[in-house]
């Protein structure tokens, strides 16, 4: 019984952390149709921002929930303003640009920050279920993921600015004709997506550590999750993260970790074969 409960919690955690890792990419992909290959490095920068400011004596929660998203949001602003904007949505050019950015950020982190920044231990204690224990921080990660995604949904669904964003996602020209400043909107959404990546990087840092190359462990799964989600990025990504997180963790429980990794990829392939335009290509068209 305890075992089932613990397994269930681990499954939820895997789903939540995959969603958290992917959501920033989903916002950027959903709004700008830009695949940000530097996404992993945005998470890395978020992790460093958190670890460095916490190490400098800043309150842990301020460092995690404010400084990290703000820092990566600022980075996102610069990237959008000086690179992405000038590519005019050319998907091929953005692949090369963001890949270059990814290498650049890794190199920068390796040169400037080095490999010796001290990490932060996961706060909180543990809860006990019979002979099993789980870190309370695990629940915290789930809560952050849920709060992030739910507030995005609420904002897009019910606020005026959310409506504007949805309109611009559907038809940028029409939105522009109706007086929306789509250029500023694109910048704003890129910054939002970056900030969310920064948040995710910071929240996961105590569990994953921070190194210049840490982004590589995130980017592939985030990429596959977001694309498999399909056209309606937020709903799609949430569903895909749940499916993939569940599959890989369940397979890892039943067998070896490598089976978990492969299972995720196979499910992604089968899914895209059955729904060639992603989960939300066929269903949930009216979702966000």
């Amino acid at each position: 019984m305890d075992h089932a409960l613990v397994v269930g919690l681990h499954l939820l955690h895997a789903m939540a952390s995959l969603a958290l890792v992917s959501v920033g990419l989903a916002v950027i992909f959903g709004m700008l149709r830009v695949i940000n290959f530097a996404h992993g490095e945005f998470l890395m920068v978020g992790g460093y921002a958190f670890v460095l400011s916490a190490g400098a004596g800043l309150n842990l929660w301020v460092a995690m929930l404010v400084v990290a998203p703000a820092a990566v949001g600022a980075l996102g602003f610069l990237v959008e303003r000086f690179v992405i904007r000038h590519l005019h949505g050319d998907i091929i050019a953005t692949i090369l640009a963001t890949w270059g950015l990814s290498l650049f950020l890794i190199g920068l982190a390796a040169t400037v920050l080095g490999y010796h920044q001290q990490g932060v231990a996961p706060p909180f204690g543990t809860v006990q279920f019979g002979s099993y224990s789980i870190g309370i921080y695990t629940f915290f990660v789930m809560i952050v993921a849920i709060v992030t995604i739910v507030s995005l949904f609420v904002w897009l669904r019910w606020s005026r600015s959310g409506l504007l964003v949805r309109g611009a996602m559907q038809d940028p020209e029409l939105a522009a004709a109706l007086g929306a400043d789509t250029r500023r909107l694109r910048t704003a959404m890129f910054v939002l997506g970056s900030a969310l990546s920064g948040l995710a990087g910071a929240v996961l840092a105590p569990l994953a550590g921070v190194l210049p190359e840490i982004g590589a462990t995130y980017v592939v799964k985030a990429f596959i999750t977001v694309i498999s989600g399909g056209a309606t990025a937020l709903t799609g990504t949430t569903l895909a993260a749940a499916l993939f997180g569940f599959t890989s963790q369940a397979a890892a429980f039943l067998s070896r970790p490598v089976v978990g990794e492969v299972a995720l990829l196979i499910v992604a392939i089968v899914l895209l074969r059955l729904l060639p335009t992603g989960i939300t290509g066929r269903y949930f068209r009216k979702a966000l």
Binding site: H10, Y115, Q118, Y132, G135, A208, L211, P257, E261
Partner: protein, 406 residues
């Protein structure tokens, strides 16, 4: 064109070219080759490897060089990419005509360059702990092999906590072979391996594993993790409160300054084994470590036995050249095979003529507040596991990599 081809046809001819190239005037510098990962995912290892190597080379040069000649090091950054090891090894042997090549970190990098340097008659010294088994007259290893380490660790665990061990290892030759040694060691101690899991190098979710360990309730967990993704384990282990409940040992922890990067509350108590820790109080280290810090500052992380072996590798080679009176390969090999010995920050190290691996002091230590506390010293530990099949004195033509007979 034709002459070139006939030249390249046989290795003997190639050797002749290299020999010709090495005939130099008495005051020319001696070219030596170094390949390290100074960028890419392995930079965390490569930076300190190179610092230690350079210290040894600089010390030789500052003391007047070798045979009255300065060492001129050709350094290449392999960028954590095997194809560059290939390119640069060829370049060092064919263009730079170096007297020795040292470097490489992963077993794959070693197995890429070792055959090349063997074929091109250029001496190769490899300075990293690895799974063991290489038997090649042109090859010397200063690194330790896991057989020795796991024996000592499990003995220490049996003395302190018990004999039921849970093994976590990288799904990697090093991890697989280590796991085999662990099984054997546990058996001979009368203990048992109650669980064994292997992880691809980029897995960083350990929830399932941690709950399985909780179910198995071992006396001790022994990990052989490799790479940055696996580091995530420690945070997750501590988050679940396990670092207070089950002791943890590792043969790999510490290699990339984890001890200063990870919060003490996460890693305190992890028991490790290796030939060097900064906290060693021998006289040599008391002078050596300040010298290292004088040259490189203090922002290098923390040195353990992986980078330090590069200092030994270069120092051993220099000693052999002095003894041989020449940089010529065969003479240097013969000098090394006399069981040559040097003192260093981790204690004296000497070459085993039969296996071309090294005898060295080994220390049991425990992570404590950003430092490794030395628990025990084992003197002159022998390179046991390649010894079983490899005898380069009896069979100098051997050129192979044995799968250790476990």
């Amino acid at each position: 064109m034709l002459t070139r081809r006939t030249f390249i046809e046989g290795t003997a001819a190639t050797a002749a070219i290299s020999m010709l190239g090495r005939q130099t005037r008495a005051d020319d510098p001696i070219s030596v080759g170094a390949i390290y990962d100074l960028s890419g995912p392995l930079q965390g290892f490569g930076d300190n490897q190179w610092r230690c190597a350079k210290l040894a080379i600089d010390q030789v040069n500052e003391a007047g060089g070798l045979l009255g000649r300065q060492l001129e090091v050709k350094l290449y950054d392999a960028q954590s990419d095997m194809q560059f090891y290939n390119q640069f090894a060829n370049q060092l042997a064919l263009r730079d005509r170096v007297a020795v090549v040292q470097g490489g970190l992963t077993s794959s990098s070693r197995e890429v360059i070792r055959p090349i340097l063997h074929r091109l008659d250029t001496l190769y010294v490899y300075n990293t702990n690895y799974e063991g088994g290489v038997c090649d007259r042109n090859f010397f290893a200063t690194g330790a092999t896991p057989g020795i380490y796991v024996d000592l660790l499990l003995q220490a665990a049996a003395d302190r906590w018990g004999k039921r061990v849970y093994v976590l290892a990288a799904d990697y030759n090093y991890g697989q072979i280590s796991a085999q040694w662990i099984r054997k060691a546990a058996q001979s101690l009368g203990g048992e391996v109650v669980g064994e899991e292997f992880f691809p190098l980029d897995v960083n979710q350990f929830g399932a594993t941690i709950s399985r360990i909780q179910a198995a309730e071992p006396d001790v967990v022994l990990n052989v993790f490799v790479g940055p993704a696996h580091e995530a384990f420690y945070g997750q282990w501590a988050s679940a409160g396990m670092n207070q409940r089950i002791p943890m040992m590792s043969t790999t922890f510490g290699g990339t300054s984890e001890i200063v990067r990870m919060p003490p509350e996460v890693v305190n108590g992890i028991m490790v084994i290796g030939s060097y820790y900064e906290s060693l109080d021998n006289a040599f280290n008391q002078a050596w470590l300040p010298e290292f810090r004088r040259r490189y500052g203090t922002d290098y992380g923390y040195l353990t036995d992986v980078p330090i072996k590069d200092w030994y590798g270069w120092t051993l080679w220099a000693e052999a050249v002095r003894q041989a009176g020449t940089t010529e390969r065969d003479a240097v090999i013969e000098a090394l095979e006399t069981g040559i010995s040097v003192d260093g920050p981790g204690g004296p190290v000497s070459v085993d003529p039969a296996t071309h691996h090294c005898f060295m002091d080994t220390h049991l230590a425990e992570a404590r507040d950003g430092e490794f506390r030395i628990l025990q010293r084992y003197q002159g530990v022998a390179p046991t596991n390649p010894a079983a099949q490899c005898d380069l004195q009896a069979r100098p033509d051997t050129n192979t990599m044995f799968t250790p007979d476990i």
